[in-house]
Structure formats: structure tokens, C-alpha cells
Symmetry: C2
Subunit: 325 residues, 2 copies
């Protein structure tokens, strides 16, 4: 199959898909009062004064007649948390509004909630656009929230990592012959890790604990009753291994206790050990919240997503700490 | 100032800006043969068959007459590396094409190089759009590269972190009462760091070196002739401090040498030490390239950007390792 120009449609679509967009759901109400809605990424702003926006709808869309006859429709710029909603409104056949909370707007067109922004529009023009109709709407009302927006690029959903106006540089530019630079991913991950650990270390000092003890207590806070070997299977990736001596020290601090009922020695957290671990995790969360307030919630979600992908793609085969037993 | 609808233009623009877009430069040639071009993020695809795209141009733009009279224009979807070009074509008054390589396309409109994608178009329709004109172009030719695209969101440039179709989960869902989850940023950073370190550790084992020695050699590979205190000022953030004993061990391995000429003992790398450090950095780069091939170049750039922003925003005051002396 080719287009009129002889383009391969799949390849042409892929080329168009390199242009990044947000994701919107556009809603209206049929003449008989039924709510309808479709996912579209062909939205864009047109004019500030008068306030106009546009989007395109395929001529073979089942909702075309409604959008050509009703004059009112609402554009919802979806937030990161609305990926499932995007999928629901992109599919045909199901009751897209089932269980969805909607609000009243300036027209009868349904208003979805929890979006990044909403534009309530009235058709100003509808234009010929090949196999699509281009709808230009006058914005009658709008609102927005601080929810980070969902993004679409290359046929995939995405999050954004925003670039500050000033270039982010940690240090002076290295001399040209220097192969070790601040741009090395390993350096950036190490430095991020150790800086995040900075506040935790101060807490560990007051608890008379070291990093290895922190990892041991963390593992035991998730899975109690582990042998030394089992503990080390979970923390070995840090390069810090627990020993009988180090576990004895934790026992002397009354943070762990030993169970001998099942053959091998098994370690459990005491109430004090659980309390110490909870304080460490609470501090880790406070440090994370501080970071999130500086980077912004969307950027932190993007960072976590990228780290998870990095971990999943370089996993040397770690056991699942959270697996049910 | 308000729009016809009584909207505050700045606020309305901010609401529109929540819709993420790519960044394009659109070029044409004036009747007298001068190349012109402007940055626009109002681009979008319209139709597959016939192949149509659109963008909007302010009616007060100096290039309006040219775009209304010439029928040919090229859309360039900019890559991550073309942020400066975007800025150049967004400003007025300078010779935007000075020093720029351009190519010949199907029309006389200039074709810029090194973009993510390019669409060579002929005006199919131009439509009324309030304070803008909407240009709908038939795509006569297009091409694309694998360069990750530049993104614009909320008035800032951005990179994307793509979400795979399947949710990225490292482990089973924790029980509801478990406060330590894989979603903790500290956990993700620690695990990423240690997994990246995994391959390096194996090399260090063959070099009979530990992590502390790796940090010491890395610092000395950038700045030679440091005292013990100066070395520790640079590596102290890792929690691993060099001691006279640990430096003596590196000296015994003939990786560092001591200079005594300037009062305090100063350490320099030997040729063997430099060689050992170069092998470590080469391995770190190989590990990074492997990660980059799995995540994709744009995602790795987004990850680095986010890590730099995290480091800059949580910097406990580390000295600049790369600063000129």
C-alpha cells in the first residue's frame, strides 16, 4: 500500500511520529445526548486573540457526524496519570465514560477531571484536510492544573525531562585530553547515589550503624526470618556482605534477633530494629521529597522510569526481594 | 491586557503550553531568492492520504508575505542537538543562515541538515486562524534520521523518557504495609549505581584494587600532585576515605608515586597508574554504551540531564574536580 505520493504509509507515519506531542481527549455530546470522546494528538494552539485551537479528525471516524453538527467540544490535555484513559478513548466499542466522573462546563460537552489542562471550545471553522477534517475552535473557557502532562513520541507514551534555561554543568569543562568527565553515566549515578546517601549517613551515625547494617535492616524489614546467605543474596550487589560477626553486632545492639527453630540460623528484626529501619526509610523519603520539590514531580517520575529501565536492562540476576513466599 | 474572551494572555499561553510539542524550523525562499526560516512548534500531521501536514504563522510575522506567495516550504523536526538552531531561528534580525550548511531539495526552499525528520511541502490550503494563518501543506518528499528529537513543554526545552508498552517493574508488588518499595528514588539510584559498578568490580579484582583505589586513581587522573587531604576532599562524598596506609599500598603497587618537593606529600600517578585508570574509564564507557544501546541515545541524554539536575540541587558543596588550577 502506498499513499498518493507513493509513500509507504507506515514509514511516513513513523516520520511524522518523530514530532513529539501531548495527548488529548476531545469530548462532545451527540444530538441524542450521548457523551462521546476520542483520543487525539493532533491538537495545537493557533491564535491568542481571538483564542483559537485546532485538531484533526479522520473522515471515517464514527464521531465525525457529531463533531460536524454539534458546535461544542472540550479538549483535555492528559496528565501522566491518565495513560489508561488515553488507551480507553483510543479504542472503539466500549462504553468510554463508564465509571468516569465528569463535570459540567459552559456547554453540554462532558468535562473529564484530573487533567493537566482543559479547553472548552465552540467550532469556529472546520476545514478540508485530506482524509481528515481540521476543526478550529474558539476557546470559551479553560483551566489547568499542576499535573505533569503525558507525552507521545514515536508511537510510545513518554515523560519529559525539562531542560533549564541555563545549561546544567556540575564542574568546569575538563581539558580536551581528559577522558574522565562529568558526562560519564557511571560518575553521575555514583555521585547521585552518594549525595542521596549523605543525609542518611548522618542518621546512621546517630544510630551507631554503618551502610552495610542499613542494607541488612532494610532487607529484613521487607522479609523477616532470613539466613545469612539469604540476606547476602539480596545485598550482595552492593559489594557489602554481612558476616556472622556483623550480624552478632546487630544482635548486641538488640536490632535483630536469631531464630533457631528451622535448622539454619534465621534473623528477624526486633521491635527496635524495625523502628530503626522505619526511621531510615522515613528519612530516605524526606530526602526524595526535597529532590522532587526541586526537580518537579514530572521530572522525578521520568528519572525513576529511566532508572528502572536501566536496572531492568542491566540486571545481573538479582532475586526478587518483594516476591511472595 | 486581555484577549477578546477576557483571558489573561500570559495565563492562557501557559495553559496552551502544557501541551507538549516537538520543535520545527520552517524554511522557504523569498521571491528575490533570499532564504528565510522561522522556529515553530505549531506543526502537526493532518492526513495520511493525501499526505498533509499543517502549521500556523502569526499574521504580523515578517515572513508572512513570502509564505503566502511562495508555494514551497520545508519543515525540519529538530533534534536534541539543535537547541541553539531553534533559538537562532526564533530571534529576529540576524542572518539566520550564516555559516549553515543547506541542501537542495525538490524545491528551492532551503533544506537544513542533521535534523530528526524533514518534510518538503507545497501549500495545499491556507486558512484563516484568528491572529494566525494556518498553512496546510502536501508532503512532496520526506526523510528522517535516528537522531532523538528536541521537545518543548511549558516554555522550556525538554528531552523525553519513553515509556515501554509494558510497565517496567523490577519486582513483585510489595505488601500494602511495606514502606520500603522499589519506587523509592534512593533505592533506584543505589541499585543503578551498584549494577553499573558490577562490571567495574570484576576489572578491579583483576587489578588487585578496591573501590576506594578506583576513586583515588580517577581523581589523580584528572588532577595530579594532590595531598592526602586534597584527595579526600574530592572522594569524601563516597564515604570512602584514603589513608596514608591505603596510599602506601598504591605506591607499593607502583600505581602512584610521592613527590616531596613542596612541603606536604603530594601524590602523582605513575605510567602504570595512568594505564590502570584508563582501563577503568574505558570499561565504564563500555558499560555506558551497552546501557545506551538498550535505552536509546535520547533516553540516556534525558537520564544524564536529570541526574545532573539532581546532583546540582542536592550538592553538599563539593569542590570542582575539573577546575583549572
Amino acid at each position: 500500500m502506498t499513499t498518493q505520493k507513493g509513500f509507504d504509509p507506515q514509514d511516513f507515519r513513523a516520520a511524522l511520529g518523530t514530532f513529539t506531542t501531548g495527548v488529548t481527549i476531545i469530548t462532545a455530546r451527540t444530538a441524542s445526548g450521548e457523551p462521546i470522546g476520542i483520543t487525539a494528538n493532533s491538537f495545537n494552539s493557533v491564535s491568542l486573540n481571538p483564542p483559537l485551537v485546532l485538531w484533526s479528525l479522520a473522515k471515517n471516524a464514527r464521531s465525525l457526524d457529531t463533531f460536524l453538527t454539534t458546535r461544542h467540544w472540550n479538549v483535555h490535555v492528559l496528565s501522566i496519570d491518565q495513560e489508561a484513559l488515553s488507551g480507553r478513548f483510543a479504542r472503539q466499542g466500549e462504553d468510554k465514560f463508564a465509571g468516569l466522573e465528569t463535570e459540567e462546563g459552559v456547554s453540554k460537552a462532558p468535562l473529564l477531571t484530573d487533567c493537566t489542562a482543559r479547553f472548552q471550545c465552540r467550532t469556529a471553522f472546520s476545514y478540508e484536510g485530506g482524509d481528515h477534517v481540521i476543526f478550529v475552535g474558539e476557546v470559551l473557557a479553560y483551566d489547568r492544573s499542576s499535573r505533569p502532562p503525558l507525552v507521545y513520541q514515536g508511537g510510545q507514551y513518554a515523560l519529559t525531562a525539562r531542560k533549564p534555561r541555563e545549561e546544567v554543568r556540575l564542574a568546569s569543562a575538563p581539558p580536551p585530553d581528559c577522558s574522565y568527565t562529568e558526562d560519564l553515566l557511571g560518575y553521575l549515578l555514583g555521585r547521585s547515589h552518594y549525595q542521596m546517601l549523605h543525609a542518611l549517613r548522618q542518621l546512621l551515625d546517630t544510630q551507631a550503624l554503618d551502610e552495610r547494617s542499613f542494607f541488612v535492616l532494610s532487607v529484613l524489614s521487607i522479609r523477616d526470618g532470613l539466613t545469612l546467605d539469604e540476606i547476602n543474596a539480596f545485598i550482595g550487589y552492593t559489594g557489602l556482605l554481612a558476616t556472622t560477626d556483623s550480624m552478632n553486632a546487630l544482635e548486641a545492639q538488640r536490632l535483630v534477633a536469631v531464630e533457631t527453630g528451622y535448622g539454619a540460623l534465621r534473623y528477624v528484626l526486633t521491635a527496635d530494629g524495625r523502628e530503626a529501619s522505619l526511621r531510615q526509610i522515613a528519612l530516605a523519603k524526606a530526602v526524595e521529597e526535597d529532590i522532587a520539590s526541586r526537580l518537579g514531580p514530572g521530572d522525578v517520575m521520568a528519572l525513576k522510569l529511566l532508572l528502572k529501565r536501566l536496572i531492568a536492562s542491566s540486571n545481573p540476576g538479582m532475586p526478587d526481594l518483594w516476591a511472595p513466599r
